[in-house]
Amino acid sequence: MSIKSAKTLDTRGKFCPIPVMETAKAITQIGVGEVLEVLATDPAADPDIKAWAKRMGHEVVSAEKTPEGYLRILVRRLK
């Protein structure tokens, strides 16, 4: 079953702290309960977005490496 995202944020080629900052901005542009898809190449984006989501009370639904070799992280806005 695939999860539908309300918005995609492409941070590929950007480095810490930009992916987290852009994620923080983008999450405000979707509704509560909706999912933000974040694409990233910075290896820190995985632990950093998880830490950020925990702090902000959002849910990381999944974080996976795509066959193309970049990260795809799904974050559900919870508040």
Binding site: G13, K14, F15, P17, V20, M21, T23, A24, R55, M56
Partner: protein
């Protein structure tokens, strides 16, 4: 009398250094904190204060003398990464969160800086040590950089 202080999600930084290799950590940590809803207090003093004079922001960034030989390579890498200057990150941090930036009054006098108009536009206030201590006392993370 002792006062009980409850720690908060607050980052307090004394930004003492004036070289890019130390100012980047100040800006990166401040941005990450602001993105995560932390409060941030940054106190620029000595060479950190010198680095936020408007004319210094436009000058080529300095790097610690110990690592001077790496300077050109680092500058080149930052360019290639398309990474923003440290003060742009700090500006973005201020735009997105609760970030306050202070300039040290004693250093201003020492460097002949008469008022904050010659400093970067992201400076909120000119204050002294007592103000920073009061603002920083409940910070969960405090750094001297």
């Amino acid at each position: 009398m002792s006062e009980r202080v409850e720690k908060r999600n607050k980052l307090a930084i004394i930004a003492w250094s004036g070289t890019a290799d130390k100012l980047y950590p100040v800006a990166i940590l401040s941005s990450a904190a602001a993105a995560g809803g932390w409060e941030v207090e940054v106190f620029f003093t000595f060479w950190g204060l010198n680095a936020i004079r408007k004319e210094m922001l436009n000058a080529p960034p300095k790097i610690s003398a110990d690592f001077a030989e790496y300077g050109p390579a680092v500058a080149q890498a930052i360019k290639q990464m398309n990474f923003p200057p440290w003060f742009e990150l700090l500006r973005q941090a201020k735009a997105m969160g609760n970030v306050r930036v202070y300039a040290c009054s004693t250093t201003m006098e020492m460097f002949g800086i008469k008022d904050k108009s010659v400093l970067a536009d992201f400076v909120d206030d000119v204050v002294g040590a007592a103000t920073f201590l009061e603002r920083a006392k409940d910070a969960a993370v405090t750094l001297f950089i």
